[in-house]
Amino acid sequence: MTSASHAASLRRRFSRANDVWPWLCAASVALSLLMLGALLTLLLVRGLGHFWPATLEEITLSSGETFAGEAVREVALPQQAGEERLYFTGNQDIEGVRWRWVAIDEIVERAQPKDLIRVERSPWGDFIGRLVAIEQGDQRWQGDAAWQQLATLLTLPANQRQESQLLLTTVDGQILRQPLASVVSAQAPNAMSGWQKTRAWGEAVWRFLSEGPRAANTDGGVWPAIFGTVLMVILMSVMVTPFGVLAAIYLNEIAHQGRLTRLVRIGVRNLAGVPSIVYGVFGLGVFVYGIGGSLDEWFFSDTLPSPTFGTGGLLWASLTLALLTLPVVIVATEEGLARIPEAQREGAVALGATRLEMLTRIVLPMAAPAMLTGVILAVARAAGEVAPLMLVGVAKLAPQVPIDGEFPYLHLERKFMHLGYHLFDTAFHGEDVQAAIPLVYATALLLVLIVLVLNLTAIFLRHYLRRQRGNEC
C-alpha cells in the first residue's frame, strides 16, 4: 500500500519530532483510548461488582445509635470539611427508608460481625440484621441449626414453605417475623469464604440473566428484555435482509448507471445519517396510527376500544428498525457487489448464462460475506437503538414474552421489553435511582457487550473477506 510506505517515510523524518503539534495529535489518540477504556472499565467493574456479596457492617454512632448496612459511597460534605458515607440499610418495612447518610466523624465503631445476614424478600426488599430462630408449627430451630434449616428450606419451592417463618432481629433490637414464603434468598456475607462468594457471585449473575424483573424493575433480572431485544432484532433482520439485498442488486446490477442512480445512491447512503428518532416519528405516524389503526378498524373492530395493532408493538418496532437499518445493509451489499470484478460477470454471460443465473450462481455467492457483514452491522445498530423504540412499542414491563404456546405462537402485536429502554427506564423512571444504579450498570454492560461482539464479528468478517479477495485478484 502506498499510504503505508508513505507513513513509513514520514515516520523516518519525524523520528526526532521536535514540534508540539505531533505530540498533541498523539495525545488525542491516547485520550480517545483512555476514554473508551475508562468507560468499559467502569461498566465492567460496577456492572459485575454489584453481584459480589458485599460486606455488611455494624455501625455505632457517637450518639450511641447502632445500625447495620452496606457502605455504598462517600461524598464531601457541602460547605464544611469532612465527608459523609451512604449506607444501604434495607429494612424498608421497619424503618420506612432503605438508605442512610452518615457523617464519617459521627461513626465511633465499624464492626463486621459474622452473624449479620441479608435476607432478600419479595415485597419489601432486603432485610439486614440477625437470624434468631426458625419456627415451623411447633418446631423451632435456633443458632447454627436455624441457619442450616434455612438453607434446606430455601431449596423448596415457595408454596411448600407456607407454615415456616423466620424470627429476625435488627441490630438495634427490633423483632420481625418474616413468613418464609416471601423470602427469596438469604446469605451471611461476612462469614463466607472467597470461594463461597465466587459461587454466590456466579449464581447472582446467572439469576440476573435468566430471571424477570421484580419489585417494579428495581430488582431481579433482565431475561424478558434480552429475549425481547433478540426477537425484535431477528424479526428486523428477516425483513431488512431481502429488501436491502434487492435494493442493492437493483442499484448495482440492473439500474442504468447514470446521474439519477448516483443521486439515489448518495441519498441511500445519507439515510444512514438521518437521526433514528426521525424513523421513530415515521413509525409512529405511519405504522402505528396509520396502518395499525386501519387494521384494527377492519379486522379487530369487535375488540375496540382495546387496540390490537393500533398501538406500538413488536411488529411495528421491528419494521421501523428495519427501515432504519436498510441503508446499512444496502451500502454494505453494494460495496461487496462493486468489489466483484466485472470479468466474472462478463465471463458468466459469455458462457451463456442469463442475468438471473449470473446473479444467483456467480455474483450473490461472492457477495454473500459482504451481505452478512451488512446484516450484522444492522443488527448491532438495532440492538443499541432506543429513541425510535420509545415511540413505537417498548413497554416498561411486559412479563409475557411475545412467543408462547397460544395459537399464533408469535404475537406480533404485543409490546416487548428492550435492554436499552430498560436501562433508560430503570435509570430515570424507577422508584429510587440509587437502588437501581447497580442494575443499570449491569444492564449497560450487557448491552455494550452484545453490541461490541456483533461489531467485532462484522470487522473480522470484513477483514477476512478483504484478505481473501486480495488473494483472488
Binding site: 503505508a4 515516520r11 505530540w23 489518540v29 491516547a30 416519528v281 438471473l356 455494550v448
Partner: protein, 372 residues
Amino acid sequence: MTLPRLPSSRQPLRLLKDRMATGLITAGGIGVLLAILAIGVFLVWETLPLLAIGDTFALAKFSPLAWGTLKAALAALLFAIPVALGAAIYSALFMSARLRARIKPALEMMEAIPGVVVGFIAGLILAPWVERHLASALMLIIWLPLSAALAGLLWQLAKSRLRRRLAFSWAGLWLVPWLVFMVAIALWLAPWLEQQWLGGDLRQLLDQRYGMDYAARNALIVGVAMGFAVIPSIYSLAEDALADVPSTLIEGAQALGASRWQALWKVALVAAGPGIFSAIMIGAGRAVGETMIVLMASGNTALFSASPFEGMRSMAAAIAIELPEASPGGQTYHLLILAALVLFIFTFLVNTLAEVVRQRLRRRFRQMGGTL
C-alpha cells in the same frame, strides 16, 4: 446490457424466469427507494397544517428547541473536532502500521457504544461528579494538552535508548498510562489550587463575580458525552482522507524545502481538506440528531442561553419525551413532527454535501496519485 441468444430448448423458460427476476428486483429496489422517499413525504404532509396556518405561537415554541439543538451540537463539535482530527493526523501520518491496524478498529468501535449507555454515564455519573469538582474538571481541559507537550519535552531530553524503546510511532499507546498519571496529579492538585487562587469555591466565584448560574446538566457535560459519540465518525472519515493523500505531494513539498510540520500543515491537510470537511459535516449530522445522550444529560431546559454551564433542550429529545403523549392531530403533535422534518432535512442536506465533497476528492486523488 443485452443478453446473447442461445440455441437451447429451455431458453424461453430461462428468459422468462430472467425477465421475471429482473422485474422483481426492479420492483423491490424501487419499492425500497419509494419507502425511503415516503419518510420525507409523510413528514411534510403532517407539518403542512402547521405551516399553512403560519402559526406564530407554535413557531415561537419551536425556536428554543432549535437553539438547544445547535448549542448541544456545537458543544459536542468543540470537543470532538480537535480530538478526532488530532487522532486522525497522528494515526494516518505518524503511527506505526502495526499499531494502526489495531487502533483504528478500536476507535471506530467507540461509535458502536449505544447512546443510552453514554447518556446514562454522563447524566447520572459524570454530571454530579463535575458539579462537585468543577475546578478539577475545568483544569483537566487545560492540563491534558499541557501534559502532552510535557511528554514531548521529556522525550526530547531522554536518552536515545529510551527513545528507541518508546518510539514516537507508538506514542498513541504509551501516552495512555502517562495521561492517567497526569490526570491523577491534576485531581490531586486541583482542590489545593482552587483554595489558593480561586478563593475556595469556583462556583461561588462564578456566581459572585460573573453572575453565572451553574446547572448540573449543562452544555459542558453534553459536549463531552456527545463528543465521545461523535469522535469516532469524524476520526474514521478524516483518517481515510489523510491516509489517501498521495505521498508524492508531501515528499514534493519537503523537497522544495518545507519543514516536516509545514509539509503536513500546508500540504497534506490542505489536500485532504475537503475530506476533513465532509468528516466534520457527518459528525455534525450525528450530533444534531443524537437523542438519548441529550435527553439524559442536558437537563431539558428550554432556555436561550449561551452559557456552557446551563442546560438546553434539543429537538430530538423533545420528540422522544413529548411525542408519545401528544394526541395525533394536535398542535404539539404537528410541532414535534415539524422538528422531525427539520432534523431530517438538515441531516440529509449536510450528509449529501459531505458525500458529494468526499466523492469529488476521491476522484481528484485518483487522478493525482495514479496508482491509488
